[in-house]
């Protein structure tokens, strides 16, 4: 589904990713862990097509397509979702307006008609229930006045509504209390399916107690320096990252 080969990327002229390789197949959950500044968020942003990140070398193919030449909105329409580490507040654009515009843009891309207004509301309310989000908040501006935890839950709500094929969640677990973490994990687990894949970018092992990954990778110095199964996450939790960075 996703094939990253020898990816090099710079931010403001600084080399951050230095030859990253990663293959994600349908149905898999990958966790990418690593110390601060190792390039985790850069990887997420490069994949989502955020401005200011320059790819200097390497290829990224998503479902066989060259992901890097697609504008961000086209990547989303192809089924890629990025859960932001710091979701933006947009006063004046309600959550419902965002969700409906996004859903219809993606449907249009697939040649499907616009969603019926009633079906849309039923669907969004169901997703909000799963995420423990008060339906009243849906009429408020996107993330406007939301707490940190509410913003993260709102990211997962968007993911549930949009049903992407590949979700990249950038530190979605950071700043969450244990109850919010369980709700977020429940949202992710609900979406796990044979045709879908996840990349969880995280600093901590905590989320992986609730979302069992198939693979764990350690990103350090802009490259994947070690890959393994779920046991690698526990090892990292005990030993920290120092032993890998030194290696």
């Amino acid at each position: 589904m996703l094939e990253i080969r020898n990816l090099h990327a710079t931010v403001a002229g600084k080399d951050i990713l230095k030859g990253l390789d990663l293959t994600v197949r349908a149905g898999e959950v990958h966790a990418i862990m690593g110390p601060n500044g190792s390039g985790k968020s850069t990887l997420a942003h490069v994949l989502a097509g955020r401005e200011g990140y320059e790819v200097t070398q390497g290829t990224v193919r998503f479902e066989g397509k060259n992901l890097l030449e697609l504008p961000p909105e086209a990547r989303a329409c192809e089924g890629l979702f990025l859960g932001f580490q710091y979701p933006v507040e947009i006063p004046g654009v309600s959550n419902l307006t965002l969700l409906k515009a996004a859903l219809n843009a993606q449907r249009k891309h697939r040649g499907a008609p616009e969603i019926d207004a009633t079906d849309f509301l039923v669907w969004v309310r169901e997703c909000a229930r799963v995420m423990g989000i008060d339906p009243k908040m849906l009429s408020r501006g996107v993330n406007e006045g939301f707490s940190g935890g509410e913003k993260k839950r709102n990211e997962i709500l968007q993911m549930l509504v949009l049903q992407p094929r590949l979700a990249i969640l950038d530190e979605t677990d950071s700043g969450l209390d244990i109850d919010a973490l369980k709700v977020v994990a429940e949202g992710i687990n609900r979406l796990r399916a044979p045709q879908r894949a996840f990349v969880l970018v995280t600093h901590y092992q905590r989320l992986l107690d609730y979302v069992q990954p198939d693979f764990v990778h350690v990103l350090a110095g802009g490259r994947i320096v070690k890959s393994g199964g779920p046991e690698l996450a526990r090892e990292l939790e005990e030993k920290g990252y120092g032993w890998l960075e030194a290696a």
Partner: protein, 408 residues
């Protein structure tokens, strides 16, 4: 400068006016010939140049057929003028049409020109405690004439003690033609009266619209105004509000989004002439490619107007390199014991918000429209007339909000 063509047109019109009017009109014409159109040397006209009008020649405009279907709002009364002539078939309140005198003194040559050629307009006079049963929609439509044409109208809105009214003044124009339109409004609000006034402008390219509204608020009177400007070749609005007696209140909001090639000039002047007045003013604008907006908001707190509470806020989005906005707040405060706040900003669309919306699959142009609407909502939400609010959003080209489907 030569404004001779206006004198020639005057002589041709004069025969049709009753002798009693001729004298006063001629005096106004002479005043106009002396003053001419305001030039950019006048501080209040620095950014809007009317000098080219002096060399022009405009025939008195004649009524022609014009489509009004999309202007109609449910559950309201209508008074419709096309090129300054009353359209009785389209009006439901034609008894309110009259040639009116105004008590406000003129300030510029344009005011004199308006008075010299004035034709009938709205004459609304409500007695004490009277209340207009339905909102009144005054439609001032322009339509193409074979020659360049001009329209000059005067209107009067006088509310008696504790009277209430909702009024929508709409300047609209059919495409084509070249016209000069001046519209003058004389508004008097007796103690405790309340006027909710909407001013909507969507004139066509090629038009010159100059409007002036003067409102005087007596004790505890209140005026709520929402102004929206979209089209036009050149539009200049002067809005003068005088809080003449204690306890008067002004709530003023405006939004402008000039179409390509348009020049929109809003001049507002709020004079606190008595103690315990309250005014709130918010103007926002979005200015894009090859268009220009001017905003000048003056607040005057006269000597003796203690406990005045006044706020003014202006915010603009400049969306293209060749767009221009000249925003100027002006405060003149001659009293100590007052609360006055003001602020003006010019900015761009929030790139982070734009990136976020696009990351969800929303096309760049749609995402920008959502953000422009978000910016405008603060003003649009002041429109307490849902059908008008929807029309205004449509006029500005905004997508409908998803949450409207929440309330069946």
């Amino acid at each position: 400068m030569s404004v001779a063509s206006y004198a020639q047109v005057f002589e041709r019109c004069a025969a049709a006016w009753p002798a009693a009017q001729r004298r006063a009109r001629r005096a106004k014409l002479e005043e106009f010939l002396r003053l001419g159109f305001p030039t950019r040397k006048l501080e209040d006209w620095r950014y809007t140049d009317l000098s080219a009008l002096a060399e022009r020649s405009f025939e008195p405009a004649r009524r022609t057929a014009v489509a009004l279907q999309d202007a109609l709002l449910p559950r309201s009364d209508r008074l419709v003028y096309v090129n300054g002539e009353l359209d009785r078939n389209a009006s439901t309140a034609d008894e309110l049409s009259a040639l009116v005198e105004t008590e406000t003194p003129g300030a510029t040559g344009v005011d004199a020109l308006n008075a010299a050629f004035a034709t009938p307009g709205l004459n609304l006079a409500l007695g004490p405690h009277a209340r207009l049963a339905r909102p009144l929609h005054l439609i001032l439509a322009g339509a193409a004439n074979p020659q360049a044409a001009m329209t000059h109208q005067r209107h009067r809105i006088h509310l008696g003690q504790s009277a209430e009214a909702v009024l929508l003044v709409e300047f609209r124009g059919a495409a084509g033609g070249d016209r000069l339109v001046t519209q003058t409004f004389d508004i008097r609000l007796a103690p405790g009266s309340r006027l909710r006034l909407y001013r909507l402008q969507d004139e066509a390219a090629g038009s010159h619209l100059i409007s002036r509204m003067d409102a005087r608020l007596a004790r505890d009177a209140r005026i709520d105004i929402v102004c929206l400007d979209r089209g036009c070749g050149l539009a200049r609005h002067d809005l003068n509000l005088e809080l003449a007696e204690p306890g008067a209140e002004v709530e003023l909001a405006g939004f402008y989004q000039p179409a390509a090639g348009a020049h929109l000039d809003n001049h507002t002047r709020i004079v606190h002439a008595a103690p315990h007045g309250r005014s709130r003013e918010l103007f926002k604008g979005i200015v894009g490619e090859k268009s220009r907006a001017v905003f000048n908001g003056k607040i005057v707190v006269s000597p003796g107007a203690q406990k005045t509470d006044s706020e003014q806020r202006v915010a603009n989005l400049l969306l293209a390199p060749r767009a221009e906005v000249d925003a100027k707040p002006e405060l003149e405060i001659y009293t100590d014991d007052v609360k006055c706040a003001h602020g003006a900003t010019v900015g761009q669309l929030d790139e982070t918000a734009l990136a976020y919306l696009r990351s969800r699959g929303i096309a760049d142009s749609d995402a920008r429209a959502l953000l422009r609407r978000a910016f405008a909502l603060e003003v649009l939400d002041r429109i307490a007339w849902p059908a008008l609010r929807d029309r205004a959003a449509l006029l500005l080209g905004y997508p409908p909000a998803a949450e409207t489907a929440l309330d069946p």
